[in-house]
Amino acid sequence: MKKIILIFCIAIAFNSKAQELYVFTEPASNIPAAVLSARLMSSFFKEVDGSGTNIHFMPELRYGISGRLMVQAQGYISTRNGSLYTEGAGIYSQYKFLSIDDIKQHFRMAVFGRGSFNRADIHQEEIEIVGHNTGYEFGFISTQLLHKVAISSTLSYERALDNGSAYEFPVSQSNSAQNYTLSFGKLILPRKYTSYDQTNFNIMCEFLGQRLTDNGRSYLDIAPAIQFIIKSRARIDIGYRHQLYSTMQRSAPNGFLIRYEYNFYNVK
């Protein structure tokens, strides 16, 4: 598997155009104003204790309030305890404060914040407020698009709180972390655009890392992904996340993600 990931990521260094619609992170470019985006994401991560697969469903709505500001709401549903269980929900907002645009080249920076509620049990040291912990996160995103590759980096602070009154955050664990990501994206097809009806094929390679504040434990994952854009309206993402190393306890670090997105334009 590691060899396949390596070959995949090297392939990104070749071929023609850049693409920044990352699967595991957000680029600093917001969704366009007046675009309403509906998403359904499913993830299938293998439990390290051999208890099976941890499946999440995350329906999501995103909206571009202006060219600079976007908001998002997301629900967290999981099968971790057997049947489908709504564990919580979160809201996210991103503000693009810098945009230097040129033809096929741009640099953008954005700030973002996320707040999540989750009522599931706390079962790992890793802090993940998307689908696991109650908490908040805020940070910076920088995205640079050059002719051949789109490179994006995120730096954020994430803080976990108690998961409702039933599951207090364990005092023995670090309740805050710094996250850092580095993402690369390429457009593979079409080689030349002729209409909005062409299917686009993109590949991404992302690195996702976390460091716990209190004890310095950390992990680093690699996450290759493929993506199809259909009729310039819909998007299908298929990604795989693989732990490169970890010094913290994580319940299910390796697994797949599938996402479907459909965009509605001029929604005012």
Partner: protein, 164 residues
């Protein structure tokens, strides 16, 4: 004396015959995928005085055909693109000219709008004529840095800087 001369030129220039603005071509920047292009396409189609939009996805260019006998507001087009989260790298428009005298560094009225000409030869134009807008929101940052010292602005009215 120099000021009087400029004044005379401006008065003569402003007496030129107006022309109908027919269409425009714009190149957008800051987009990476056909979904971005599609959102600009749909935003442009919503602009009231735009009759039709044709897009070239490969080059991020859009051809706008305007409705006839209606006021064309270039700023509204820029707002549609910038408002969606993108930028304009190049913007040209075509108007019908009738014996229109063009002079460098002159203010000229076309279709009820004021245009200030930069880097042009003195000439008389007839028929469909294409002009390029040079104001900040209509060109790339690199292009803007090259021309910004030559741009004309009048706080009391909207003046568009143009070249051929």
């Amino acid at each position: 004396m120099k000021h009087i001369l400029i004044l005379v030129i401006l008065v003569f220039a402003s007496l030129s015959i107006n022309g109908q603005i027919l269409s425009a071509n714009l190149q957008a920047s800051g987009l990476t995928c056909s979904m971005c292009s599609n959102s600009i396409f749909k935003a442009l189609k919503k602009v009231e005085f735009v009759d039709a939009v044709e897009s070239d996805v490969e080059n991020s260019t859009f051809k706008l055909v305007f409705k006839k006998e209606i006021d064309i507001d270039f700023d509204e087009i820029a707002n549609a693109v910038v408002g969606a989260g993108f930028s304009i790298a190049k913007f040209t428009f075509i108007f019908s000219a009738t014996d229109l005298k063009i002079q460098d560094k002159a203010l000229i009225d076309i279709g009820g709008k004021s245009f200030y000409f930069i880097n042009v030869k003195d000439e008389t134009v007839n028929g469909e004529t294409e002009l390029k807008l040079l104001d900040k929101q209509f060109i790339s940052p690199k292009q803007y840095n090259k021309v910004k010292k030559k741009l004309y602005s009048d706080p009391s009215k909207r003046v568009f800087n143009v070249s051929i």
